[in-house]
């Protein structure tokens, strides 16, 4: 997030696009509700009529994957009605003319044909966003899990820069990140192309710095494989061994049958987890890890706040903290890796990572700190891009609408979208074993519009067979107008409804994110 979570409450215009905030980030949604109680306008763009959409002053029920058409049309209105922030664009950005040129054809009327949103509504929303004092855009995977995910984000950023709604308190571009420490995992360089703090592996100086710190002769210069490419590499026989820590790709990755096939082809798979997940079941060796309650450490949240995780109990059974296990394996491979505590590891991170340099466990005792925090006296950074973008001028990256990779056709006439439920989390490894959450919400269902249900002769509670070109699942139907006609929706929380057997692994070429929000399916009544 460019801003802090608390700043959402200070916005007077919120555009929430592709985020089911009340279910996926319930406590962040409280800030949006607070803003609304203070008089803010909430606009929600989502193909489903989620609780957020119900709360919204305006619900833009756009067609799946048509975000760029909507966002470009908003830019079109803002430019043609001279509502853009001329001072900000002149002083802080570059390539405005190319944006203007690209969005010229995205008239609200043209966008209406693509998105299904009335042109007048697009105009009203565009004016509201442009004229607001503090406007914030919230988004999650509804924007990013498309083959044009990166371009969707560009379109969001273009809009924010066009109106100068970035680089100040309460206004910005705010992706709400999904996992407790997905921000931290990225910050720490658990990515194929960067070390900690996004220091590129391709830069000689960075490799020199890290090889010196890590006491190795050299480090690989070639960026590695992303998760989807690893699975393809395993299937092709190029990747022979994998070490998976705390991830369950068999349920979370698209085209699950292909993932199972790929992992089975490996010569060696070691999985480190707290439960015997569907992925761990395929492993040659399973290492029992300690849960968050059993170890010290830090998580970095979606607003870049580094916060302490504290050991409350001893590890269950013979489980060990993940960091200790990694040290054990490294040492056994001839690279002595020893730390007395998590705090010592953090000090090493701070010494190699400019954005974390000023953070220490001693400081975190007083509360979380938001990076960048370059030195021990720096208070942390609640919002980014004040006065200057990281690259200097903010660059407009104009983007064109492209349709999703797989659209409904005669054989597979419905769009399947997937997401999360309020009472569960990700692949359900934890939430299916709480003694409470799974008791309250014990089975998954497929949301299907009454008109589609009637056409397919599906009744409430029927078991239906849903098929895509890649796989099939059986699931109970729930008839609801939360989904529009032509769309069905379910979550990926339940192993019994392993929906990622159906989803499309087609990926965004830049971010390599799969298009989990759109694939074509058909629904057949079973009982």
């Amino acid at each position: 997030m460019t801003n802090s979570i608390g700043e959402i409450a200070g916005a007077d215009f919120i555009l929430a696009i592709g985020t089911n905030t009340t279910e996926s980030h319930p406590v962040i949604s409280l800030q949006a509700k607070k803003a609304q109680r203070n008089g803010a306008t909430l606009v929600v763009a989502d193909p489903r009529r989620t609780e957020m959409a119900e709360l919204a002053n305006t619900h833009l029920q756009l067609k799946s994957g048509s975000d760029i058409a909507l966002l470009n049309a908003m830019a079109n209105v803002i430019i043609s009605e001279e509502l853009w922030n001329k001072e900000f664009v002149a002083n802080r950005t570059e390539d405005f003319e190319s944006l203007k040129e690209t969005v010229a054809k995205y008239t609200p009327e043209y966008a209406e044909q693509i998105t299904g949103i009335p042109a007048d509504t697009i105009k009203t929303v565009a004016r509201g966003y442009a004229k607001a004092n503090n406007a914030t855009i919230l988004y999650t995977m509804g924007v990013t899990q498309h083959i044009c995910g990166t371009h969707n984000v560009f379109a969001v950023a273009n809009l924010a820069m066009l109106c100068g709604h970035i680089g100040k308190e309460n206004s910005g571009v705010n992706p709400l990140r999904g996992q407790n420490n997905v921000q931290g995992a990225c910050d720490m360089g658990a990515l194929p192309n960067v070390y900690t703090g996004y220091q590129a592996v391709t830069v000689d100086d960075n490799r020199t710095k890290f090889s010196k710190a890590w006491n190795v002769a050299e480090l690989p210069a070639q960026p590695g494989l992303t998760v989807g490419e690893m699975m393809e590499g395993a299937a092709d026989g190029k990747v022979k061994g994998m070490y998976i820590m705390g991830e369950n790709p068999v349920l979370s990755d698209p085209d699950a049958d292909h993932v199972v096939h790929a992992l089975e082809k490996l010569e060696f798979l070691v999985v480190q987890d707290i439960f015997l997940t569907e992925t761990a079941a395929l492993a040659d060796v399973v290492l029992p890890a300690a849960s968050f309650a059993e170890k010290d450490g830090t998580f970095s949240n979606t607003e870049r706040r580094v916060q302490r995780v504290r050991k409350a109990i001893d590890p269950v059974g013979n489980a060990r903290a993940d960091w200790e296990i990694i040290c054990n394996i490294a040492t056994a491979m001839g690279y002595p890796m020893q730390y007395a505590s998590a705090s010592n590891i953090f000090d090493e991170i701070a010494s190699l990572t400019p954005s974390y340099a000023g953070i220490s466990y001693a400081r975190l005792e007083l509360g979380g700190i938001q990076w960048p925090c370059p030195d021990a006296d720096h208070p942390g950074t609640p919002y980014l891009h004040k006065d200057k973008f990281v690259r200097g001028l903010g660059k407009f990256n104009p983007v064109e609408y492209i349709p999703p990779a797989e659209l409904p056709d005669q054989d597979y006439p419905l769009v399947l979208s997937t997401g999360r439920r309020h009472f569960h989390y990700h692949t359900g490894t934890m939430t299916q074993r709480t003694g409470a959450l799974e008791v309250h919400y014990g089975a998954e269902h497929l949301e299907i519009n009454p008109a589609d249900a009637a056409a397919l002769n599906v009744a409430e509670g029927d078991t239906v067979l849903m098929k895509s070109r890649r796989g099939q699942v059986e699931v109970t139907a729930r008839i609801t107008d939360v989904v529009p006609r032509g769309m069905v929706f379910t979550s990926f929380h339940f192993p019994e409804v392993a929906i990622n057997k159906l989803t499309n692994p087609a990926r965004d070429p830049v971010a390599k994110i799969p298009e989990l929000k759109v694939c074509a399916v058909k629904v057949i009544t079973v009982s």
């Binding site: 608390g6 980030h25 931290g184 690893m230 109990i313 989390y425």
Partner: protein, 351 residues
């Protein structure tokens, strides 16, 4: 900002104009008991426990809704004040089950604390008592409306923190109670079981089902940590008894204050679930066999080393975890790059 100076129990106190007498007293380090007051919620002035004596005022005003004024004189524990508070407590206890012996909130209950403080033991106003059925048909929250003192904090927390307004006052007089619309249980309402009402309840009317049946309030050690579910980063306290996590309670989180969602507050049961992996496993002939750490670590090191030697480092790939700590992700990429010699490390940021 304009200031006012008042005298509380003989102490001169200067506060910004608009400050309540309650806040002024607390700033001066003076204690005033409250049930319905909460700094995060709108002022309510319902329970009257915070009454004080202010000469010149017609009766004893509630300090939580009385603004401090210049030259005001306040007595927080005069005989009249003490008598009023005792009477309020007696009236509350007149319709209270008095089952502290078995109540999960025993030891963490303001009604109990104040009854002790003011020596209120009996119920001089004995008479009819409500006998509402216990509502425990959901796995998260137990509601016992017999213990409710109608402070309305849950009503305001639901409306003002959670933004849901699931519960409100219903009925009148002696029959007044807090309930979802149409007097249905929470399980039949639109309640999302965030438990933020439980976090503010000053008595035993709202209790966490798991926590309050697992430990007495004084038996637990509280450890402040960060939630392991979504990316919001809520802080809460793990309640620990005998090396077991028995519950989660709110603390003052940087991001969330006391607010949590159902997963954060009630989703801790996985920690001690019998399915937890407790020993390394090695697959032999298609079956997992328990192994020692030495065996498992040696085997992993040897296999990864063999693949690296035979096919080169890029035949190895590592998935790190958005669920693990920064320290662990840091070490995992260090291990992947420095020991395995490849940059093929990723995690599920894209999923």
């Amino acid at each position: 900002m304009a200031e006012v100076t008042l005298t509380i129990n003989g102490l001169q106190v200067t506060v910004p104009k608009g400050t309540t007498v309650l806040d002024a007293a607390r700033q001066a380090g003076l204690f005033i008991p409250t049930f319905c007051h909460d700094p995060e919620l709108t002022r309510f002035g319902a329970c009257r426990m915070c009454v004080v004596e202010i000469p010149g005022m017609r009766n004893l005003p509630a300090s939580c809704v009385t603004e401090a004024t210049e030259g005001m004189v306040v007595h927080t524990d005069s005989p009249a004040v003490i008598e009023a508070r005792k009477t309020i407590l007696e009236l509350m206890l007149a319709n209270h089950p008095m089952d502290c012996l078995t109540c999960g909130k025993n030891g963490d209950c303001r009604l109990q604390d104040y009854a002790y403080m003011y020596g209120v033991k009996t119920e001089p106003f004995g008479g009819e008592k409500h006998n509402y059925p216990l509502e425990d048909d959901n796995p998260f929250i137990v509601r016992d409306m017999n213990k409710c003192i109608l402070c309305g904090k849950c009503v305001r927390a639901c409306a003002e923190i959670q933004g849901k307004s699931i519960v409100d006052f219903a009925y009148r007089g002696f029959d007044a109670k807090i309930t979802p619309a149409m007097d249905v249980p929470l399980s039949e309402s639109e309640c999302v079981f965030c438990g933020n009402c439980v976090a503010v309840c000053p008595v035993g009317a709202l209790q966490e089902k798991g926590l309050r049946s697992a430990a007495r309030t004084w038996e637990v050690q509280k450890v402040k940590t960060t939630c392991p579910y979504c990316g919001t980063g809520c802080n809460f306290e793990l309640n620990v008894k005998d090396n077991q996590v028995v519950g989660v309670t709110s603390c003052d989180g940087d991001v969330n204050g006391r607010a949590l969602c159902v997963k954060g507050r009630f989703g801790y049961g996985f920690i001690h679930h019998p399915d937890r992996l407790t020993t390394p496993l090695i697959k032999k002939n298609g079956e997992f066999v328990e192994a020692t750490w030495d065996e498992a670590i040696t085997l992993v090191a040897q296999k990864l080393g063999d693949i690296k030697d035979k096919y080169g480092p890029d035949a190895l790939a590592v998935l790190s975890s958005a669920r693990c700590t920064n320290e662990e992700n840091y070490l995992m990429q260090k291990f992947t790059r420095a020991v395995l010699g490849t940059n093929s490390i990723d995690h599920c940021a894209r999923l």
